[in-house]
Amino acid sequence: MALTLQKGGNLSLSKTDPSLTKILVGLGWDPRVTDGAAFDLDASAFLLNADGKVRGEQDFIFYNQLRSPEGAVEHAGDSRDGLGDGDDEAIKVDLTKVPADVDKIAFVVTIHEAEARRQSFGQVGKAFIRIVNSVSGVEVVRFDLAEDASTETAMIFGELYRHNGEWKFRAVGQGYAGGLKAMCNQFGLNL
């Protein structure tokens, strides 16, 4: 039985599942049931240093750059390998390959062209992020984002981070205005 975190909660992955090295980060939300202009959600990952900034463009993993150079983070996109059942997007992380100067990996979901289409996370239901051990296939921890999103167009679902030599996961659930661009700026990437 996987653990479920509340917003802001964290969990030591190394303690919960000592065998954990390769993980799959599954992100999902309720399929939209209404009609109208297209509604696209994109997942991305940011590899961040101790200051909470990317080291360079290579640390921004998204639909146009699916893999970090050292192979630590890979956007699975639609290529599910059975583990991601129920996930809308999946990102693979190999903890053993994460460069030593990367302290944190943030998992973000943004709404494509949200402002032009006047869309926001208030329209997104039942979002979640979950961490799955991709070797054993077991779900380690899960965070169901409570339904209080509103006008935000970008949302940090959760993050993996180093703490005293171990990897932890934090349930973030923090929304931002300004979409993907604002997220990039926040993480020190000026597109």
Binding site: R32, T34, D35, G36, R118, Q119, S120, G122, S150, T151
Partner: protein, 414 residues
């Protein structure tokens, strides 16, 4: 005043601490929109029909939701029963058009007579939607919150009702096809004045085990001079009203194909839940202006026209035609020939004699030999009001199921 945008949520307590809340809509543009409030359970379903508040049912039980004016709702949130988790305010287009044509509209929410938040919306945020959820109140952690939803469905009110659990929860006598919305709810949403008829029609359909059947429905009206009084007294319009729930049930488009005839036949417009209520008086200029030639009876021409119509674009979908006449039949031999030959087509003819006599061949068609299947039935009424609506529906559905079965067995009907 605080302005909301689409998708914005906020706790109601940030607006008011009063339990009495007013929700007012200001709809602009040429679209005719029907507003409603759906009180939904925790699963987002309309489990209690009394919590659909609209012009035909302007109050929920306990009066917790009331339609005060055509565009203003009053809420007594403390009175909303615990089983109701969400109050969703919706707008659906009555008639043609899409929400893209909506003018600069807004809703305002606040204390009675004192709005505290507003939300502007217009056609530019929509595409092909025809029904939309505008704003909802929902319970979270014991408190009410608001969400400016502003999202909807292209398929209009049907899709909205379906979204709120339009499938009836009770066990149906026969399995209904997936996505089937109960007749009553379809009608309740679009033409509430027909709800009681729809209920009665539903009972007859269930008795005749026709609830899962798809069919087109046609109506052929005698427009000859002797029918004048029936038109004038509104009896023909009543025939339309009574037949429409059947058409809505059988036909996914919910429309009734319609012809009138004197010496000449004329195909009229399709009758729908949107236009039925004054159809006889308004379609093609109203019944007095229909171009039927001399106002005498020439049945065979209209029968030919209807056969041709369904032969062209219908495939093997069953067709139920109600043929209303006050008698005085012309050229019986041709009628016999046409109906006999049409027995190989997926068309069932229900002849109804109305307020006349001398039905001649119509009475005998039912018993003709030499047809692939028995494809017609006849009964007569001196006055439409002689039969209760319940019995009328039973009579209308008397031989149709038997024909369907026989026609299916012979491969006439899909």
């Amino acid at each position: 005043m605080l302005e909301l945008i689409r998708g914005q949520r906020l706790p109601l307590s940030s607006i008011t601490h009063s339990s009495s809340v007013e929700v007012a809509f200001d709809i602009q543009g040429s679209l005719a929109l029907d507003l409603a409030c759906f009180g939904l359970d925790a699963q987002g379903k309309l489990s209690d029909d009394r919590y659909m508040v609209f012009f035909n049912q302007p109050e929920s039980p306990c009066q917790s939701v009331r339609l005060l004016t055509p565009t203003t709702f009053g809420l007594s949130l403390a009175e909303v029963p615990a089983g109701i988790d969400r109050l969703v305010f919706t707008a659906a287009i009555d008639g043609q058009g899409t929400l893209r044509q909506l003018g600069a509209s807004r809703f305002r929410i606040g204390d009675v007579g004192l709005p505290k938040v507003a939300c502007a919306f217009a056609g530019e945020i929509f595409a092909e939607e025809r029904a939309v959820m505008l704003v909802e109140f929902y319970r979270k952690d014991g408190a009410w919150r608001l969400n400016a939803v502003l999202q909807g469905f292209n398929e209009g009110l049907d899709a909205l009702v379906h979204h709120f659990g339009g499938e009836v929860a009770e066990v149906p006598p026969a399995p209904a096809p997936a996505g089937h919305v109960s007749l009553e709810k379809k009608v309740a949403a679009a033409a509430p004045q027909l709800v009681s008829l729809a209920k009665k029609a539903q009972v007859s359909l269930e008795k005749a085990r026709l609830t899962g059947v798809r069919a087109r429905v046609g109506l052929i009206l005698d427009g000859s001079g002797s029918m004048h009084n029936q038109y004038k007294r509104g009896r023909v319009q009543e025939v339309v009203n009574r037949l429409l729930p059947l058409a809505v049930h059988f036909d996914n488009d919910g429309q009734l194909d319609c012809w009138a005839f004197g010496d000449l036949p004329q195909q009229l417009g399709s009758i729908t839940l949107q236009n039925f209520h004054d159809f006889i008086d308004t379609d093609h200029g109203g019944w007095r202006k229909w171009e039927l030639g001399s106002r005498i009876n020439t049945e065979y021409r209209v029968i030919e026209q209807a056969i041709e119509f369904y032969r062209r674009g219908n495939g093997a979908t069953p067709v139920y035609i109600l043929f209303v006449s006050d008698g005085g039949i012309y050229d019986s031999r041709r009628i016999v020939k046409l109906i006999s030959e049409a027995a190989t087509l997926p068309i069932f003819w229900q002849f109804v004699g109305l307020a006349g006599r001398n039905y001649g061949i119509l009475e005998k068609l039912d018993d003709m030999n030499g047809r692939a299947v028995d494809n017609c039935n006849f009964f007569a009424l001196d006055d439409l009001h002689d039969l209760s609506e319940e019995i009328l529906y039973d009579r209308l559905m008397e031989e149709f199921p038997g024909w369907l079965k026989a026609a299916r067995a012979k491969g006439i009907v899909a």
